[in-house]
Structures are given as structure tokens and as C-alpha cells.
């Protein structure tokens, strides 16, 4: 029994063809729903969501998040003045102050912003079409607000097929021959420029965010806290302070600037979004400062591994079919389950232990159909093809029983 055989190659090709045509199958209207669920699923989300001990994760004490709730601009200015009086290292504002309002609202805000030593505000890169790879516009805060500010774009990467699920961000983007940095990088750069330099040297187009913390793992100042505790905020000195929306109060989860992340306790199917945008930025900053980046398999390697595993499982089935005899049917299922569990373990462990992401969920589809393909091939397709081939051969290329002389094919007569 050879590991490399034509049968194994053919069955692997069948499987690859199946994977290629699967999206067409799921394109059928009523199967769309199944497709949504499959696309939503990322195996490594189990690590973020269930396997990592989130309760014992260390709090990041470098970052303080201030909830602006539904305060107006003048009230946010008050918050800023209080926070700024405690000399934080940098203040980042994740609120889109792109338009101007009345002077009573805008002047206090502009004044408060002008007094901040290190200020980063959000901009927004925009494309004319969803498919465009370059950005046509960079929306900026109104001029009176941005005098003193560095701008970082707040865009996350939201794949259309992944409903509001954030997994990655782009650290830098080109816009009209200028290099723009993401909001999180601009802030981290002021706090620790070396860490950002190292991060950018990775030269990845996109970076997967290593989500470890939600609001319980950052110091949070709710809307009223800033005003009520305004005399006792000394801990803010030299910290990163992020201003953003965390609901009307932090205890109410609202459908505004909120996203699904891999940390969602319900990693698949219906659930409420679990993280506000400002906390996503905080996670990206923590990751950069702690040099806790995620490395991922390059696509070519990912596809090669899927192909190799498909071949391996087909070869294993061929081997078992010949060697195990009557035990084959019973054991094949068991062996399949063991192989699946092993691959699942490798994927989860490499991510949990080494921050190495091997997103090869297609392998499990391969495993699920492997036995069916193997049996259809060996039980039907191969014997029927041989039989058909023999019939054709006998009909058109019949040999004389005695031997050497080949009868003229009928078709040529």
C-alpha cells in the first residue's frame, strides 16, 4: 500500500473540487443561512472567547477610558479640562467632531482641546466604492478642533460577510501620497515610539487584534464619575486617556458604536455585540505596547496545509480500507473523530500558547466529506470506470485470445 497513489490523488482532487463548488451550493437561497453561520465561525474565536482565562487577565493600568455618553460638546469640554488638569501623557478622542455647531457648544470644546499637550483625534478614511483599494477622502475634525491635534484614522476592517465582527485593523494607509497612521498607533507612538516602530517594521498590511480585555480590564470613568471625582483623579498622570462612547452609562449596552469581537462569550450565532469601538482601540494600543502581536499563516501555506491534510486523510482511508477489513467501517469514523480532535487541538494550542493563528476551518469540511468521497470513489466510481473502460477497450481495441495480433478496431473498418 503506497502513500502516493493515483487513487489518493484522484480522491483529493474530488475533495478540492467539492470545496471550490461549495459556495455555489450555498448560494441557493434557503441555504444562505447555513453559509452565514459557517462564515461567522472562526475556530480560534474559541480561544478568545472560552479558553483564555479572561477573569485572570491583568488589567492594563496604562489606559483610562472616559465615557462621554450623550454629553454635549460643552460638557465634554468640561470633562477634558478636568482630565487635562491631571497631566495625562496623551489624550485620544474617538468622537467624530467633523462638523461645527453653535458657538456655545463649540468654543468651550475648541478651548479645552487647545490646552492639551498631546492630543490625538480620529479621522475617517473613505472610499467612493466598497471595492476600491485606495481611499478618496480623509474626513477630519473641524479646523478649530484640530489645531493642536494629531490625526489617526478610526477605520476598522469589517469584512462584509462577517456581520459587524472586528478582528483586524490596518496600521497604516496611503492617502494622497501621505502615510496615515491608525488612531491606536498615533496614540501608542506618543506613549512609546519604539514599540510603534517595531510594530510597523512587521510591515503587515493588516494586523489581527489580540483581544484580551473588555471594559472590566481597563480603568473606566463613567459620564458622571469625571465630575463627581474631579478632585481625586491623580492616577491619571502620565496615562493614556481615551474619550469615547460606552453607552448612556457603562451598565447599559446600546446599539451605537459597538461591535462583535472574538471575545464574545457566544462565539457563534446570535448574541449582543460585546465591545464598544473605543475599547477595541484600547485593545490595539495594549497589544502594540505589550508587543503581544498575532502571527498568522500566509495564505499560500494555509492552502497548502489544507491540500496536504486532504491528501493525508484520503491516503489514511485507503490504507485502512485495505488493512482493516471488517473493522474499517467501524473504525474509520472513530479515526476521523480522533484526527479532527487532534487538528483542532493543534490549531487551538498554537494560538493559545504561541499567538500563532492557523485559520484552516476548511479542513473540517474536508474531514466531514472525506469518508463519503473515499467510499463513492472506491465503491462506485472506480469499479464503474474500470468496467466502462474495459467495455470500450473490448469493443474497439479487442485483442485475439492467442496473442500478438491486434484486431482492427471496428470504428476504422
Amino acid at each position: 500500500m503506497k502513500f502516493f497513489s493515483i487513487d489518493n490523488i484522484i480522491t483529493t482532487i474530488f475533495i478540492i473540487l467539492f470545496l471550490m463548488f461549495l459556495p455555489i451550493f450555498f448560494g441557493i437561497d434557503f441555504l444562505n443561512t447555513v453559509q452565514n453561520t459557517v462564515q461567522d465561525l472562526k475556530i480560534t474565536d474559541m480561544v478568545f472567547s472560552q479558553i483564555r482565562d479572561q477573569k485572570n487577565e491583568q488589567k492594563d493600568t496604562n489606559i483610562v477610558i472616559v465615557n462621554i455618553g450623550y454629553l454635549n460638546r460643552a460638557q465634554v469640554a468640561e470633562q477634558l479640562n478636568i482630565i487635562n488638569s491631571y497631566s495625562p501623557k496623551v489624550i485620544g478622542i474617538d468622537v467624530m467632531y467633523f462638523s461645527e455647531k453653535t458657538p456655545e457648544m463649540d468654543l468651550p470644546l475648541a478651548d479645552a482641546l487647545s490646552k492639551i499637550k498631546n492630543l490625538v483625534m480620529v479621522g475617517k478614511l473613505e472610499s467612493k466604492s466598497d471595492t476600491s483599494e485606495t481611499f478618496d477622502d480623509l474626513l477630519l475634525p473641524a479646523e478649530k478642533f484640530r489645531q493642536n491635534a494629531k490625526i489617526g484614522y478610526a477605520n476598522f476592517i469589517l469584512a462584509p460577510e462577517e456581520f459587524q465582527t472586528i478582528r483586524a485593523f490596518s496600521p497604516k494607509e496611503k492617502y494622497k501620497n501621505t502615510l496615515q497612521l491608525a488612531f491606536s498607533l498615533q496614540i501608542a507612538k506618543i506613549f512609546n515610539s519604539k514599540a510603534v516602530e517595531d510594530f510597523l517594521n512587521r510591515d503587515n498590511e493588516t494586523e489581527i487584534i489580540n483581544f484580551r480585555r473588555n471594559i472590566d480590564k481597563y480603568t473606566i470613568l463613567d459620564v458622571d464619575d469625571v465630575f463627581l471625582k474631579k478632585d481625586s483623579l491623580q492616577f491619571i498622570k502620565d496615562k493614556i486617556v481615551l474619550f469615547g462612547f460606552l453607552g448612556k452609562t457603562v451598565n447599559t449596552k446600546m446599539n451605537e458604536d459597538i461591535f462583535y469581537t472574538p471575545m464574545n462569550p457566544q462565539y457563534l450565532g446570535k448574541a449582543y455585540p460585546d465591545m464598544y469601538g473605543i475599547v477595541v482601540h484600547a485593545n490595539a494600543i495594549t497589544m502594540i505596547l505589550h508587543k503581544d502581536q498575532i502571527n498568522a499563516l500566509p495564505d499560500i501555506l494555509r492552502l497548502s496545509i489544507i491540500g496536504l491534510l486532504a491528501y493525508f486523510i484520503m491516503a489514511l482511508f485507503s490504507f485502512m480500507r485495505i488493512k482493516l477489513g471488517e473493522w474499517y467501517e467501524s473504525l474509520s469514523l472513530l479515526v476521523l473523530l480522533i484526527v479532527m480532535a487532534f487538528v483542532l487541538f493543534v490549531i487551538l494550542y498554537s494560538f493559545y500558547r504561541f499567538n500563532y493563528l492557523m485559520e484552516i476551518k476548511e479542513v473540517f469540511l474536508v474531514f466531514m466529506i472525506a469518508e463519503m468521497v473515499s467510499e463513492s470513489y472506491h465503491g462506485s466510481i472506480k469499479p464503474l470506470s474500470i468496467e466502462g473502460f474495459k467495455k470500450v477497450k473490448n469493443k474497439y481495441f479487442r485483442k485475439k485470445i492467442s496473442g500478438d495480433e491486434i484486431q482492427t478496431p471496428k470504428i476504422l473498418e
Partner: protein, 399 residues
């Protein structure tokens, strides 16, 4: 006799038994804690949801003009009293107040509200049942303050979810619950009792523990208005005459809502996978009331019957496989696969057709699951388990 002998075959029967045994054991695999979300997601999936997504045309579903929903978000008791003054002037058939009212100490606004509630002819107030996860029963109930409650009938407005799992799709409701020696009716049932006694009697006679909800639609399928508009006379109060008027804290126009206030329903754009909850409690109640009034009930076969049918179909499949394997061995693998695809497609089509056109649920999930497993188990049994068992018996017992 020959026919009966041909019809019954021990191998097919045993293979079918193994299929059902597997179906019993399989869910245990998903009890591992990190796979529980996977299990929840699978359990929430219902193939009949496609009825709302693909078969029904929302524009073709008529609005129910019997029901008016009024948003009372942020209203104090004093403002509610003002609202009731207007509503009582317009003589609605019944007012349903989906809000637990609390009273302050000797508050004049509470007295005013109580006075208006006393003037209301047919008033149904909400109550909330509390589930005891230890005894697995509803064992306590929350009402509005006695000052208000005395003027209306109460009905529980709980949205019943299996094991109280919040992320489950709402598909059914309980019209009544027996707690101790008492029978408690739901908010929707109590409202129909006032609005249309005959429809209420039909609901009672059905005597089902739960009923599938026939969802008509969201706010757009009912009259909807803001309470402030009613007070400011911006709405013609004749609109409420003879109608079911439902009051609740549900702002249909605000896209920034608190998640806990909404539920997932089959009308959600995403029936599986990630989704934002799509319907307020009061929208669901309006759908239930509308369904009871219009007598649009779904019927379904019992789970026991569904399992028996699944068993019979699975058995017949085993017989088919046995026939194919004996008579056309080389074609068996291909034909068994094709028969699975054809049978499941047909079953899905029949299931959808009957559900959509006759409002009858065939509960075909059991059959589908058995079909998925049948080839694999048939082969494992006939080619492996059976010969190995025979060998084992011969070796140890017939020496």
C-alpha cells in the same frame, strides 16, 4: 406472508436503531464547555424560518388596523395620567399597559393616574413571572403597585425562551400557565378576552401549552404613535375608538436602543449567525394578539409522531440501501448518495410548502438528521458491526 417477510429485515431494523442511538449520544459531545455556544447556535436553527425570509412577501401582508401601539418611553406617572385622559375620551375597546407601575408615597400624580385607570373600561396590565432555575418552575410574580392594579386585569407578558436563553429566537408563546392551583393567562390572551371573546374561547379550547406565533410584521404592520403626540392633540383620538391600544416603552424610530429591550424573531434579516435583536416585547405581543383575533394558528404534528415517522422513513431507507447493495453493488455508493440528496431536497420542499400554504409544521428535522446518518450507519452496521459481532459470538460462545 412473503411480502411481510420481505418488508421486515433485522439488519435494516438494527441499523435504524443505531441511527437513533447515535442521535441520542451525539449532543453529549457538545456538552464540553467550549463547544456549548456551538450547540446553542445549532439548537436555535429552524428550517421553517425561511418561510419569513424567502417565501413571504412583506408587502403582501396586510397591516392589522385593530391594534395601535403607543410609545410611552420616559413618561412619568403624571404624564401617563394625562395620556389616559385622552385615551378614555376616545373609547378604545381595550387598553393594554405593558409597564410595571410603581407608586411613590402619597404622590398626587399617582392618585391622578389611579383615578384615570379607574375610569378605564377595559384595562389589562402586565405582570412578570419569575423562573426558579433550581425547581425549574415559575414560582413568583411581579405586579404593578396595588394602587393601580386594582383597576385592571393582569396577564403575564413573559417571552418564553427555552431555559431562559436570551439569545434564542422567539417563535412561540404560552397562552396560559398553571402555577400551583391557579391558571394565569398571558397579556395577549387577556387583551383578546376583552376585544373578541369568541377568539379567546377558541384559544382556550385549543389548550396547547405553547402556540407558534404567526408573525405579521413589525411596527409597520400596526398603527404606531408617540404618547407625546397624543397628549399634544397631534393625533386624531378617533383613531383609538374600538381598537386594542397597547402602551409600552418602545421607540420604533430610535436605532440606538438598549439591547435587553429587544428580542430575536424569525423576521430578523439574519436568521442564523450574528444578528442584532429586531423586535420589542410589545411588537411581539401585538403579533400574538393579531394572530389570536384573526385565528391564524399554526398546527403541527406531535413530537412523538414526528419521531415515529422519522423512524419509519429511516427504516425504509435502510431497506432501499440493502436492496441497492444486493442488486446493484457497484452503483450502491453513488445511488445512496443521490437518494440522500433527492430525499432531503424533497422533504425540505414539502416541509416549506406545507408550512407556508397550510400553516402546518411537519417537524421534519428528525427525518433530516436520520437521513444524514443513515448511509454511514448502514455501512458501519452491515459491513463491520454485524460481521464482527457474529465473529465474536462464534469465537466465545460456540466453541
Amino acid at each position: 406472508m412473503k411480502f411481510l417477510r420481505a418488508l421486515f429485515n433485522l439488519d435494516s431494523f438494527m441499523s435504524t436503531l443505531f441511527v437513533f442511538l447515535f442521535l441520542l449520544i451525539f449532543p453529549l459531545l457538545f456538552s464540553i464547555s467550549f463547544l456549548v455556544p456551538f450547540k446553542n447556535s445549532l439548537m436555535d436553527f429552524q428550517i421553517t424560518d425561511v418561510n419569513y425570509q424567502s417565501l413571504r412577501v412583506p408587502e403582501d401582508v396586510l397591516a392589522d388596523t385593530n391594534i395601535v401601539i403607543i410609545n410611552t418611553t420616559g413618561f412619568s406617572n403624571a404624564e401617563l395620567a394625562e395620556l389616559f385622559v385622552k385615551l378614555n375620551e376616545s373609547s378604545p375597546a381595550v387598553i393594554g399597559l405593558d409597564k410595571i407601575l410603581k407608586a411613590g408615597y402619597n404622590d398626587s400624580s399617582d392618585i391622578a393616574l389611579a383615578g384615570e385607570l379607574a375610569r378605564t373600561k377595559n384595562l389589562v396590565m402586565t405582570s412578570k413571572l419569575f423562573y426558579n432555575s433550581v425547581t425549574k418552575k415559575y414560582d413568583s410574580i411581579l405586579y404593578s403597585d396595588g394602587l393601580f392594579r386594582q383597576y385592571g386585569k393582569c396577564g403575564f407578558s413573559n417571552i418564553m425562551l427555552r431555559g431562559n436563553v436570551r439569545f434564542e429566537t422567539v417563535r412561540e408563546f404560552a397562552s396560559h400557565l398553571e402555577i400551583g392551583d391557579s391558571t394565569y393567562f398571558s397579556f395577549a390572551a387577556m387583551i383578546t378576552m376583552f376585544f373578541d371573546k369568541k377568539s379567546f374561547e377558541i384559544l382556550k379550547q385549543r389548550d396547547n401549552e405553547t402556540e407558534l406565533i404567526d408573525f405579521r410584521g413589525k411596527f409597520d404592520k400596526y398603527y404606531y404613535t408617540e404618547a407625546s403626540s397624543v397628549i399634544k392633540d397631534e393625533v386624531d383620538i378617533n383613531l383609538f375608538r374600538g381598537k386594542v391600544v397597547l402602551l409600552s416603552d418602545a421607540n420604533a424610530l430610535d436605532s440606538n436602543f438598549i439591547f435587553e429591550k429587544k428580542f430575536y424573531t424569525p423576521l430578523n434579516e439574519n436568521t442564523t449567525g450574528r444578528a442584532i435583536p429586531d423586535m420589542y416585547d410589545i411588537e411581539i405581543q401585538a403579533n400574538i394578539i393579531s394572530m389570536i383575533i384573526q385565528k391564524n394558528y399554526f398546527n403541527s404534528i406531535s413530537s412523538v409522531l414526528a419521531i415515529i415517522i422519522a423512524f419509519i422513513i429511516c427504516y425504509l431507507n435502510m431497506q432501499l440501501y440493502r436492496f441497492m447493495e444486493n442488486k446493484i453493488e457497484k452503483w450502491y455508493e453513488l445511488l445512496s448518495l443521490s437518494s440522500f440528496v433527492i430525499e432531503s431536497s424533497l422533504l425540505l420542499l414539502i416541509g416549506y410548502y406545507v408550512y407556508h400554504n397550510y400553516m402546518f409544521e411537519l417537524k421534519l428535522s428528525y427525518v433530516l438528521f436520520t437521513l444524514i446518518l443513515s448511509t454511514m450507519i448502514f455501512e458501519a452496521y452491515t459491513k463491520s458491526i454485524k460481521p464482527l459481532s457474529v465473529e465474536f459470538i462464534n469465537k466465545f460462545f460456540k466453541r
